[in-house]
Symmetry: C2
DNA sequence: CTGTTAGCGCCTTCAA
DNA sequence: TTGAAGGCGCTAACAG
């Protein structure tokens, strides 16, 4: 290990006090320009570098923020993280990444570890059902902000899209295309709020348009292509086959389309499809997929901004903020019957 | 801020010395089981949490590793990061993410910031041409490990794929398909080693198979769909039009295919295409794209392992490791003329 | 304007 | 087996 040069080394060399060096380095107004300049130069010359650890220990503020997501290598979470990093980095914060792999225990471990690291805040898209872990964070008075997969809690800010609206506009669009028998394939757990809300939006759209709701048309799967194929197999073994599918996942939508095509069922003529997330690939396909954009970059930036805003406030002003981004329906070939 | 409970609080409550508490907490063998148990319980009860900052300041080891990439929201880098995180997290490290946006200055800033944070190592896929920044890291005796976009330097380990081989097998495959006039579209800067090597592999394959090399067939673009289209426009305005394209980017390959299709040129019959990276979408398309897999998850894991291995060694053993992962050609429809 | 002192939370000698 | 003291690098309060 290279011997670290500290302010004491500089002080010694210059025959002044360490505190003076510290002040000079921090551009304290009470230091003469002469000493300031001298200190700066010597620091440079000696290859001095401030130790953020010491500052953090002293100040109780690390300028680190922990971000917990299921996985980092998906377009959605990657983009959210990018948004967070872009915004926070500009304010001198660094971002520590943790993955849960959708495992509650792993999530708890991550929280524990981040708290030990004294992060100034934790942003997360949770995979947990119980709230014990969140309580731990709040008990430490560390700001907790949910994005996307939130948990409705007091004193906790969140940044999400309006998933209910997302489900609603997707379903409404299918209805407008003339579909009457609309299936819904949800992903993950209906215990997770966002999926429940998309589902609720779907139901509401049916209700508002006098279309009967049928449990047979609702499936729950994982978010991948193979499960999309399976879902279609199940749905099309029903006596009363659907004429549209609203999927809460673009991957499931893709699998569904592939399976339908193999079954010689025409998309969108016989069955119209809408996915969710606006994954880039949905737009690359010859039969491009209609979907709902969640604005992940924006979501990340917003999450960071909510935190920064909170930080600037006095305790009294620290009210929870529930930021809701309006999702956007993107109509593409898989559901467009006009042409 | 919730008053932090420290080992002193525990010591006070138990009427013992803080040092004893510290030892008990760290399972020091010289502490009686009775006190150990007592301390553990009280710590639990008081909701004590060890402060990693203090430990880091004392020990000079933060257990944080900085990772610098151009962007986090791409499949490739997202997957590398996931690999790194998976592996390091298991060893008690946390990962700090920084993005450069392909900006050298930003990269330098990130390095500076990570060094101030006293990270135990820096992993990066560099966007820089000069090596000043790297020297700073090495001067601090902080392990620096490159992945993917490396810079050949002494005392620096790297984990990459064999980009030369990647270029070679892609080109060789096209030759085997009967192509004689193979264009190469490179992305980014040929100053970046990996692109230069893919290009070199391409040339070598031509040479080994007695196919004349022509500068007209080599273009440099950015890695996106639109530039892929442009590249095709340029290549097909030549008198002597190519019958194959090896692209160093899947996105460029996609753009190329789309443009060719609009020009009524058949892929792969008239023009065979091979991309690079095995982005997920290449496999989703009706006309799936042949490509070269870079095993990003593996790359991330390897990078982490190289670091962990180095850490376990004595100084004398700390030799640089150049890990090279063999890339894999994946033949899909865009270049498969057998069918 | 500058120096002295103390302390952030922990661990690690050195003593007992 | 346990306690006391010092220090990691820095800043802030208190003196001059």
């Amino acid at each position: 290990m290279a011997k670290k040069v500290t302010i004491y080394d500089i002080a010694e060399k210059l025959n002044i006090a360490a505190a003076t060096v510290s002040r000079a380095l921090n551009d304290n107004p009470k230091i003469s320009d002469a000493t300031k300049k001298l200190v700066m130069e010597t620091a440079e010359k000696m290859n001095y570098r401030q130790n953020r650890l010491a500052i953090a220990l002293k100040s109780g503020k690390t300028n680190n923020v922990g971000v917990i997501v299921p996985r980092v290598n998906t377009n959605f979470f990657g983009s959210v993280i990018r948004g967070i990093e872009d915004e926070l980095n500009a304010s001198g914060y660094q971002v520590i990444i943790c993955q849960t792999h959708n495992d509650e225990e792993k999530e708890a471990d991550n929280v524990e570890s981040l708290l030990n690291s004294q992060v100034d805040a934790i942003f997360m898209s949770t995979s947990s059902r119980n709230t014990d872990t969140f309580d731990k964070i709040l008990k430490k008075k560390i700001p907790l902000i949910f994005f996307d997969r939130k948990k409705t809690m007091d004193n906790v800010s969140s940044v999400t899209i309006d998933d209910f609206a997302g489900g609603y506009i997707a379903t409404k669009h299918l209805i407008d295309q003339g579909c009457k028998k609309i299936a819904h394939v949800s992903t993950g757990d209906l215990n997770i709020e966002i999926f429940r809300e998309r589902f609720a939006g779907y139901k509401q759209a049916l209700y508002d348009n006098n279309i009967p709701y049928s449990e047979d048309y609702v499936l729950t799967t994982k978010s991948n292509i193979e499960d999309g194929r399976e879902a279609v197999k199940k749905l099309f073994s029903l006596k009363n086959k659907p004429d549209a599918i609203f999927s809460a996942s673009d991957f499931v939508a893709l699998g569904a389309i592939k399976e339908l095509q193999e079954m010689k069922i025409k998309v969108p003529k016989d069955v119209a499809i809408v996915g969710f997330s606006n994954e880039p690939f949905t737009n690359f396909l010859e039969l491009s997929i209609s979907t709902v954009d969640q604005f992940p970059l924006e979501m990340g930036r917003m999450t960071a901004r909510v935190f920064l805003a909170q930080t600037d406030m006095t305790d009294l002003d620290k009210i929870q903020k529930k930021v809701v981004i309006e999702p956007k329906l993107i109509v593409r070939k898989s559901s467009d019957r006009r042409s």
